[in-house]
Amino acid sequence: MMHGYLYLSIILFCLGIVGVVARRNVFTVFMSIELMLNAANLVFVTFARVHENIDGHVLAMMVMAVAAAEAALALAVVILLHKHKSKLDTNVFSLLKG
Amino acid sequence: MFEHVLSVIIFLPILAGLILLASPASRTIARFTGLVISLATLVLSLELYLRFEATGHLEFVEHISWIKSLGVSYSLGVDGISLFILMAGSVLLPLVYFVFGTKEKGYYANLLIVQGAMAGAICAADMILFYIFWEVMLLPVFFMLGLYGGPRRLPATLKITLYTIAGSLLMLAAIVYLGVSYHAQFNEWSFAMEKMAHLNLTGRVAAVAFFAFMIAFAVKIPLFPFHTWLPDAYTEAPAATTFVLSAVMAKIGVYGVIRFVVPVFDLEFARFAILLAYLGVIGMMYCGLAAITQKDFKRMLAFSSASHMGVIALGVFCMNIQALTGSIYQIVAHATSTGVLFLFAGILEERTNTRTIDDLGGIAAKAPVFALYFAIAMLASVGLPGTSGFIGEFMIVLGAIKFNTAIGVLAGTTLIIGVCYMLWMFQRVFFEKTSSRSEHFKELSFTEGLVFLPVILLIIVMGIYPHPFLSKITPSTALQFAPPASVVAQMPAANAQNYGLTIEQK
């Protein structure tokens, strides 16, 4: 049964990557990242159960805290960008072009 | 108190320089501080010189463990080889504050920092420490050249910086290699220089490490063909920087070869010495030839300096005590002659607003004292007997002949090549008709004359009575060629000099 959880987390994680790479909508990209974090959380919790060691739960909590912090900051940035460009397209922001 | 004199000599100028940089001091205060600090350093160095016992080993040793897990330590010490380079720096640097009185605050502060850093590189007895000072040394030069240099200073700054950094990174890699192999062979971490000599290095990696060191030092010396940063940097740098570069910093490259390469990579060194010696000779001739057609006297002096450095480097590569001692003696002689010539060139440039040889003329008639000083420094730089330049040059040629006849003969041509461009320049700047630019050339003031006097006298004294100086050098150079170190260590210093190489019949 353990394998099921792990395979699921792999699928979610890969979907998250696909979302980040394939989509241009800022929100979708952001939520795809959250998806990857959740996939990781699932692994933590699974292994915590498997080894019967609740350190994994603590780590999952930490990840949630980080996700919350990230959400706050990322959304602030999104608001800022929207103010500047009124666009939600990641392709608009290409200052890194060499 | 005196056991920490080296640390004081190193850190007093560095701290003073940093404080100056941070403080809003005016340029007068900056100059005065620089003067006082450098004079204090000079006094300490003189005291050090007098107390130096010429045992041939490191003296005034300071040793504090620094990074224990890697065996890195803060250890300092001077022997007969480093003492003279240290002294050259300490004696010559105060001149700058006397001669150039109207520069920016940063100019003096950087000068102080570079003085301390150079002293550190010279005294360091640990390779990591040496590397740190070696890099710190470059920073003030970078700023002085980039901020206060001539019109084409930026490309020159970029070139010298990239060149030297490329060299030092190679050296860092080689130092790490040495540390790791020391750990592998003796199961103990250490970067102390004297321990590295016990290393048994063979194979291709050793040769690569050898060349990594050599390239780092060759860039600094500069040895042909790594000299191409030199003409630009020396020409564009403010006079004091050129002076520092030529009088002391280039010598630290040679010193590095003597200190690192010769004892540690003895096999590789013996294998490639002939190649390096040819590079030295070629550099000497090449730069000497290039010097003769220069139109800019600072550039001409730059090439002449590179030419002389070729000879000095050659002395190290010849692997016998005469040539090595000659090299070290020549280091001091070159610092006092060419270094002072660069200062004079700075004075000339400041007072006539030109660096073109053809714009000048007849200065000897306008400023006899200046001409006399210049002539003495110039004659020392062409190696006239009775000046400091001769002793070193003679011993280098003598040693080179023993090492390899062809190299010896080629090295001898420095006698001719040097005199050609120097006389040609001297003729057009000091003799002939007075030109419009040199019409109002101001003679050296009384203070300036008095300030240069000790150096000029030193040039002559070192030429006429070199024995006291040499007797401090020879024990250390003899050690370089001594068979097992323990045997020599037990002997009194006076006898150490007899243990050179055995006489080979030609």
Partner: protein, 169 residues
């Protein structure tokens, strides 16, 4: 068996939600489908006997974070015209799926090599507030405090960033 049935249901919902997130054009739709994923994940946590995490997942993730996101989406009042024109979306998704394949396969391979363990539901002594809380404040105190500082910093950062007057061009 009941647990297995639940797992399959939650897993399917989670994957569907995630696929929806990747494919929906409007972020609001994506967010809604993502909430589905989060809730099903909460269910899975419950199946794994992680009672506290189950609760937190619902409260913090599905509750707080998602509502924040949805709130912002609504706050920005996004019109369909504001959305990026993604004509080649499916193609990109396909390409990135192919690119991701090796990673997934590697991970799958690793998982496959693991020994099988039971994940049957455990009793009271596991994953409750008390156990996790004790552990958190005894062994993980410093990381916990650091995380709180992190949250504080991000809070301040968010205020500063979002509060900036837009120097629009």
């Amino acid at each position: 068996m009941f647990a297995d049935g639940l797992f399959i249901v939650f897993a399917t919902l989670a994957v569907l939600g995630a696929v929806g997130l990747v494919l929906f054009r409007h972020p609001m739709n994506g967010a809604m489908s993502f909430v589905v994923t989060l809730i099903s994940l909460a269910g899975l946590y419950a199946l794994l006997s992680a009672k506290l995490i189950f609760a937190l997942q619902l409260i913090v993730y599905a509750g707080a974070i998602m509502s924040l996101i949805v709130f912002i989406i609504m706050f920005l009042n996004i019109q369909p015209d504001d959305l990026p024109q993604e004509e080649m979306k499916l193609f990109y998704v396909l390409v990135s799926a192919i690119v991701v394949c090796p990673i997934g396969l590697l991970l799958a391979k690793i998982v496959k090599s693991l020994p099988v363990h039971s994940t049957a539901i455990m009793g009271n002594k596991f994953g409750g507030v008390k156990e996790v809380g004790l552990l958190l404040f005894r062994d993980w105190l410093i990381p916990f405090e650091i995380v709180s500082i992190l949250l504080l910093v991000s809070l301040v950062g968010a205020v500063i960033l979002a509060g900036k007057r837009g120097t629009t061009k």
